[in-house]
């Protein structure tokens, strides 16, 4: 029988410890969750190490913050539960900053923003759409955006367009294209590209870096980009780190470090290395 006083002391001790644990954290180590399956943001090399744009940025930013960062692999389904449970403190996985998502978690300032573009078969009538290569920002150029949208909708009438599920492209297609065209959502871009090549879909909408990578391969020589490049509006302000709302101090630290990394061109360097273009927002 444990004596009452000992039990009481033990309880008090654990309560004190809990109270201590609840106070503001002194960030010495930060655990970052990444999928390792989202080329080129992050991917896994054969030895199991996670490499890519985001690991480079993370290491750089953490060094500036003078904290030790650990990157662990987590598949997407377990990402948010892992963040909430405390398994890691940050999510870096090419997550677009959206208002919907801001209801649940906090985001850092964006560290990359890739414009969206379209691709189709060279032989398709879509390939002739006007405004090829022009960047249209739905936030900054309301009139131009509306005109572009109308032209796009007219061109895509009755056609099928493929997007990746749960991306800003899917949101855009769902909001603006679903009533004139058939929108097919795919779990990965590789699968969607396969369907483009086999003719099941007529066009794809994706990050222009993704399309550049796809079109650069041999088996895509019959395909090309078409139409304008799109940004703003449904496409959001870019990709950011996800943090728990309770860790506002950590978010602030990361924001400072990210801004510094932009200022001296480090992030641009990583961007050119992995994306081949500058993705500064």
């Amino acid at each position: 029988m444990i004596r009452r006083s000992v039990l009481g002391a033990a309880l008090t001790c654990s309560l004190l410890v809990l109270a201590g644990a609840a106070s503001a954290k002194d960030w010495k180590t930060v655990v970052i969750g990444m999928e390792g399956a989202y080329d080129p943001y992050n991917l896994t090399d054969p030895s199991g190490k996670i490499v890519g744009f985001e690991p480079d940025v993370a290491m750089d930013v953490c060094a500036r913050m003078k904290v030790e960062c650990k990157i662990i692999a987590q598949d997407w389904d377990g990402m948010i539960p892992g963040l909430e449970a405390g398994k890691f403190d940050v999510i870096m996985d090419g997550m677009s900053i959206t208002d919907e998502r801001k209801k649940q978690i906090d985001f850092s300032v964006p560290y990359a923003d890739v414009a969206a573009a379209l691709a189709t078969a060279k032989s398709s009538p879509l390939a002739k759409l006007a405004g090829a290569g022009k960047l249209v920002n739905f936030d900054k150029d309301k009139a131009g955006g509306a005109a572009t949208l109308k032209a796009l909708r007219d061109a895509l009438k009755g056609k099928t367009i493929g997007v990746q599920v749960s991306t800003t492209h899917a949101t855009f297609a769902g909001n603006h294209l679903k009533d004139v065209a058939t929108v097919k959502e795919y779990k990965t871009t590789d699968e969607r590209d396969l369907d483009l090549k086999s003719g099941r879909i007529d066009a794809v909408l994706d990050d222009e870096t993704e399309l550049m990578a796809m079109l650069g391969k041999d088996d895509a020589k019959d395909f090309a980009e078409f139409g304008p490049r799109l940004t703003g509006g449904d496409f959001g302000i870019g990709v950011g780190m996800g943090l728990r709302k309770a860790d506002a101090d950590l978010t602030a630290k990361f924001n400072t470090a990210i801004k510094a990394a932009f200022a001296d061109g480090s992030i641009k360097k990583y961007s050119l290395k992995w994306f081949k273009i500058d993705t500064t927002p």
């Binding site: 809990l18 399956a37 896994t44 054969p46 662990i72 598949d75 389904d77 405390g86």
Partner: protein
Amino acid sequence: MDWLTALGFGERGWGPALLQGAIMTLLVSGAGLAIGAALGSLVAWAKLSGVRIAGAIGEGYAALFRGLPELLVVYFVYFGSSALLTGAAHLLGVEGFVGVPAFAAGALAVGVISGSYQAEVFRGAFLAVAKGELEAARAVGMGRWLMFRRIIAPQVLRYAIPGLGNLWQVALKDSSLISVTGLTELMRASQLASNATHKPFAYYVAGGALYLLLTAFSDRIFEFAERRATRGMRREAT
């Protein structure tokens, strides 16, 4: 990167990673099946015992885990047990997140699911045992343990083997869901490779081929077991 380099064992090849994934799959499925057998026979026994409370609990367990999608069970087992462990750890003064070892959580999840199905297999197998034999055993005065050891267990196993063979295959496939715990088994390894190399076809086929190999291996074992268990039994029914 051509096929040979991509799948091979060289520096940029994914061969070793896939093989490691295959071994992990095997281990987790095996552990899961064992846990499932223990749980399943318990539940079958509860259902057959005639004791209503036991039967109801067994029924409830089986209904719950047969009815829920496997992914959810894996989630709840992993994050639920981790939350419990973290809570207990906090009481002892440990900070931060304490996770249940990924392997244990994965095997437990597979086992809990498998157990609910194995209960049905064992129950069906038990019901196939000739009633007359049980009566005769009791008439001769066999104790319950002896009856179990010499009459029930061997025959139940004999009838259960085809069903268990099926459930082993199911366990192998269920193990592909435990990647949420952080464990890299075969399916996850294939997906990582496919994403890194942008060759989904190659890796789905390679992953599938490895699963086939695992299956071939286990099929052999189950066939051998079935043949031995049904020695002396006449099986002709057509």
